[in-house]
């Protein structure tokens, strides 16, 4: 008598992964989801499936080297969780928040650096002006994302005024 009532991976005592359990299919030994969605964490795959879809996730993982798939799954779970918590903005809401923090800190830094200059000029006016470090990376980050808040609040998807955002997010 065939043990057809058991899934192939159950024959050795292993339960199907969370993906195959949700999708109600056989969990084979080369199941692409099994290493990342164990059966004891059904909510992880449920979220990812709801937001991205199982077939899309499968395609994405297949296109990645094996050693990068774990990180990809973690980031997908994170983004899916963010989108379920905030169906409008998802993780982009958090990015906008962080960008605001960066802007505030950069303003505070600019003020503090101006204070230093003021103090130095008053103490030693004959000295040459100190070089202000141009933080290229901060500038690039700021330029890349500086209009994100405007983009999120802007009613029209066709109006993205910032040249920097056009460079990094080309749909204008």
């Amino acid at each position: 008598k065939q043990s057809s009532s058991l899934l192939p991976c159950e024959m050795g005592g292993n339960s199907p992964c969370a993906s195959c359990k949700l999708l109600r299919r056989r969990c084979t030994k080369d199941c692409i989801f099994a290493p990342f969605f164990p059966s004891d964490e059904p909510h992880k795959f449920a979220m990812v499936h709801k937001v991205f879809g199982a077939s899309n996730v499968s395609k994405m993982l297949q296109e990645l080297p094996i050693h990068q798939r774990a990180d990809a799954v973690s980031s997908l779970v994170y983004e899916a969780n963010a989108r379920m918590r905030d169906p409008v903005y998802g993780c982009v809401g958090a990015i906008s928040y962080l960008q605001n923090q960066v802007s505030q800190l950069q303003m505070q830094l600019a003020v503090a650096q101006a204070e230093i200059l003021c103090i130095q000029m008053q103490q030693e006016p004959a000295l040459p002006e100190p070089q202000m470090d141009a933080d290229d990376k901060s500038f690039v980050v700021h330029n890349e994302l500086s209009s994100m808040a405007q983009f999120m609040n802007h009613p029209s998807t066709s109006n993205v005024p910032q040249e920097a955002l056009k460079r990094e997010y080309p749909w204008t």
Binding site: F52, N56, M60, V88, V92, L109, E115
Partner: protein
């Protein structure tokens, strides 16, 4: 009745674009790549379903955010938008450190000025400096497992 000009979604999916097409307002035909990314990452039916579940007045922002996430994921298939988050967190750390160092310099100058009574400007300048707020990375989304932190440690 169908639209004479198909939206980017219907053009990509090679179907008729009805007047009440759910995706047409958010994926104009002028931006075909935008929908291509969204379809590749989320799938057209998923996106339509997600937008339908959102109040009408917020759907444009939602479509924009979904398009951004899809674009970042296409650019960085491993980390997607989480890579952008990690970049911003690093930027915050670097800027906080610079700010602390600069404020320490101001304090040093202020103490030097106070020891020299004629140098009152330094003391006045130091009174206006701002304190660095201690902010969590971003609230509410980091759970016990701290998935992004694990990713950051491995990635950076």
């Amino acid at each position: 009745m169908s639209n004479p000009t198909r939206c980017a979604a219907c053009r990509y999916l090679r179907r008729r674009c009805c007047e009440d097409c759910a995706l047409a307002p958010y994926f104009p035909s002028a931006n075909p790549h935008r929908f291509a990314c969204v379809h590749r990452i989320f799938g057209a039916s998923n996106v339509a379903r997600m937008l339908q579940q959102i109040p009408v007045e917020q759907r444009r922002q939602a479509a924009d955010a979904i398009a951004m996430e899809a674009y970042w994921r296409v650019q960085d298939p491993v980390y997607g938008g989480v890579g952008v988050i990690s970049m911003l967190q690093r930027e915050i750390s670097v800027t906080q450190r610079e700010l602390a160092e600069t404020q320490a310099q101001i304090t040093m100058y202020a103490s030097q000025a106070q020891s020299q009574p004629n140098q009152t400007a330094a003391a006045q300048c130091s009174e206006d400096r701002h304190s660095v707020p201690s902010q969590p990375p971003f609230p509410g989304l980091y759970q016990r497992d701290d998935i992004p932190q694990e990713i950051l440690r491995r990635h950076f």
